[in-house]
Amino acid sequence: MAQHQRSSQWRVWHRWLSLIFGVQMVIWTISGAYMVFFQLDFIHGDHLVQDTSAAVPADTQVAPLDQLLERYPHTQTVALETRWLNNQLTAVYELDGHQGQTIVSAETLAPITLEEHHIRELANRYYALEAPTIDSVVYLTENPPTELNPALLPIWQVNYDDFGNTSLYLSETTGDMLVKRHTFWRGFDIMWMTHIMDYSDRVDIETWWLKVFIIGTFILMITGAVLLVYTISFKKKKPGGAQ
């Protein structure tokens, strides 16, 4: 008789554990499946943007390095690049140093300040899908959306009216596109959040409750495996007879 009582006990445990941990297991498989089925490049939004770098226009008189360093002595890195400004491919120096990142004219070395219309123009250059339609442009200085790292503030947010509700985030000082987001990335972010069970910052994979749920699911799985042995391997006898 002992054996029969035992398999009932395992079943009771399996049910109770599944009530607590099984539900998280459903969440793990759904979020896992989402993350697995959508290609990571697509989630990253690589299809939404294109490379806008181009050779410096031939007629540009590039200011010499000595002058540049004389005027901006706190520079650690400098790059000669181009930006589309006012419908013109313009050569710029992008400087990185203690003053932060800035762009200056590669000819006059004068600082370039980016206005909203510049940001719109740059964003549309980065945008790779057809017929860009900007829904809104927002200059964010505080309270960033959860999809944006707060360290990147202040930043320009350019929202597109398209299938994936694309948002491009451009640096206010250099016009570089720093972040791209769309619906499927946002979905991925929620799935990631539920997968690692960090519901606030979505980065901490070391919470005690995550460990508890993993161990609990282990136990749930063991009870399930025992039931599997009982239900699949034991030969049963169905006493026959008249019907």
Binding site: W16, M25, M35, V36, V78, M221, K236, P239, G240, Q243
Partner: protein, 546 residues
């Protein structure tokens, strides 16, 4: 629907269980290690490049530009205090020493310095090895150096020769984490990709598995299984009160052993499990599976046999009937009330567990003496031990005791009828048939008995003399593989074929049929009887599970 869910849940779990273990273990590893512990960057130092003014590059950016007018970007930074240009062209990248204007060069000494500047651990440089790419760094296959540090984490620093950049740090925790990623992502190439066919399939299986579990859980909630004050199922009630009821699956509605008969004005509706396990006739007669219904004041439970009890048997004698079948005779001090054709459930101690095995009594009912025929099960395949139950029973010595529960089963003689009694048996299925035949022959006016028994050769014909000598039984042994030494004159072939021939000359509505034997024989016989037109309710069978 629910049975399909149970089936799905069970078989998918069987396929998936290994990967679930891997997912859980690697997940637990991640949770205990954290991002930083897996990065390989424990001893990585944040770089603070010097001011370009201090690096004093000799070659101006305007000079490089005139040399590479098509460059998309020309970047000037410094490596170990030396200016370096990175020129990005359409299809390549060029690194130039800003002091000499020539291609950047990294030798072993410089690589060592670069590596050290990125390192803040306790170790010294152990060795510097020129390498071309590394298995540890996916996507990097350029020339460079591997700088091994003598530290507790076994740190390796990779430096690219062309650019003089630190490619990455690696160490032992990183290697362990990398394996955890391989297991978690099922990507054994080391690329840590989780978008590939293998994990798609696993993900799909896991989804089916967890969702079917969720649906089953929903059913349990709806049934009130989680209500602490809920009433026990009839099965739980019977088990708790120590009443003998068989069950293998523990209340899952899948083994069909916990059959009971219910009496009352309003019987519970049969569940899907019951519809699958019980016939409509049984359901109409009030038969239900006791695990499927809760205890209820208005319904009375009748056990299949109220005489069922746990009994202690003592082995009185044993003898070899055929090369593979042993006859065991047990005595019981306690009187056991059973009918011919019924079986007992033996409790076989095996390692930590108690296994149950069913054996039918092989003689007419005798309350104190029970005879069983046990077929010694050979190994089903190499590496699998021979039948645990039969081996245990056959190895009992005279005088040994064993517990059994019973009697169970409804493979018993029909009520009084004038019909011919047809018995069809094979192998160890002889036991209940012999019991039935003996009982019938014992009555004051035995009905005509016809017995067909199938075996491979003469040595397997157990109780042959007994049946041949009995005038009341028309005994026809049928051999499927007679040996020349048998000098066999009788019927050959499969037993059901011989029966079919016999049936052709009989009135199939004037017989009662009893069938017991190994599953293939049973199946073939049932099909044959159906084709011959024997009414189903005139057939009783015992699927002696061997």
């Amino acid at each position: 629907m629910m049975r399909f869910m149970q089936w799905l849940h069970r078989w998918v779990s069987l396929i998936l269980i290994v990967q679930v273990v891997l997912w859980l273990s690697s997940g637990l590893f991640f949770a205990f290690t954290g991002h930083h512990g897996m990065s390989g960057h424990q001893y990585m130092e944040h770089q603070h490049p010097p001011m370009l003014v201090d690096a004093a590059p000799q070659v101006g950016i305007e000079t490089v530009h005139s040399e590479y007018p098509d460059a998309k970007t020309i970047q000037l930074s410094s490596v170990m205090g030396i200016g370096q240009y990175v020129v990005t062209l359409n299809d390549s990248t060029v690194y130039i020493n800003a002091n000499t204007g020539t291609a950047w060069e990294t030798d072993a000494d410089l690589a060592r310095e670069i590596a050290l500047s990125s390192y803040n651990g306790p170790g010294e440089v152990e060795q510097v090895t020129p390498v071309t790419g590394s298995e540890e760094i996916v996507g990097w296959d350029d020339a460079g150096f591997r700088i091994d540090m003598a530290d507790d984490l076994n740190t390796r620093i990779y430096v690219e020769a062309a650019s003089g950049q630190v490619v990455d740090h690696r160490n032992t925790p990183w290697t362990i984490a990398d394996w955890a990623f391989r297991l978690h992502f099922m990507d054994y190439s080391g690329e840590r990709s989780f978008n590939h066919l293998l994990i798609w399939s696993a993900g799909l299986f896991a989804l089916w598995f967890s969702l079917s579990g969720l649906i089953l859980l929903g059913r349990n909630v709806a049934q009130g299984d989680f209500n602490p004050r809920r009433k026990a199922t009839m099965l739980e009630h019977l088990q708790k009160t120590g009443q003998p009821v068989a069950s293998s699956c523990g209340g899952g509605g899948t083994c069909g052993l916990c059959k009971v008969t219910l009496h009352g004005e309003q019987l519970p509706q049969p569940s899907a499990a019951e519809k699958a396990m019980l016939s409509p006739a049984e359901l109409n007669a009030g038969l239900r599976l006791s695990c499927q219904h809760r205890v209820n004041d208005k319904v009375e439970i009748e056990l299949p046999n109220e005489n069922v009890a746990t009994v202690e048997l003592q082995l009185a004698s044993k003898r070899q009937l055929t090369p593979s079948i042993v006859e065991l005779t047990f005595s019981s001090e306690q009187a056991i009330d059973y009918e011919a054709g019924q079986f007992l459930q033996f409790l076989i101690p095996h390692q930590e567990e108690v296994l149950t095995r069913h054996y039918s009594v092989a003689t007419k009912a005798d309350p104190h003496k029970l005879v069983f025929t046990v077929r010694q099960m050979p190994s089903p395949s190499e590496g699998v031990p021979p039948g645990v139950g039969s081996t245990y029973l056959c190895n009992l010595s005279v005088g040994d005791r064993i517990e059994a529960i019973g009697p169970f089963g409804d493979f018993v003689l029909t009520e009084a009828s004038p019909r011919t009694q047809l018995f069809i048996g094979g192998g160890a299925g002889i036991a209940p048939l012999r019991a039935l035949l003996q009982t019938e022959q014992d009555t004051s006016q035995p009905r005509p008995c016809v017995f067909f028994y199938g075996a491979r050769h003469t040595s397997e014909l157990c109780y042959r003399d007994e049946f041949e000598q009995h005038s009341g039984i028309a005994y026809t042994p049928v051999l499927s593989e007679p040996e020349t030494s048998d000098a066999w004159q009788g019927a050959t072939g499969f037993v059901h074929e011989t029966v079919a021939t016999w049936l052709a000359s009989q009135d199939v509505t004037a017989i009662d049929v009893y069938v017991c034997g190994p599953p293939p024989m049973l199946k073939a016989t049932m099909t044959m009887l159906a084709e011959a037109g024997v009414p189903r309710d005139r057939i009783r069978f015992d699927d002696f599970g061997i």
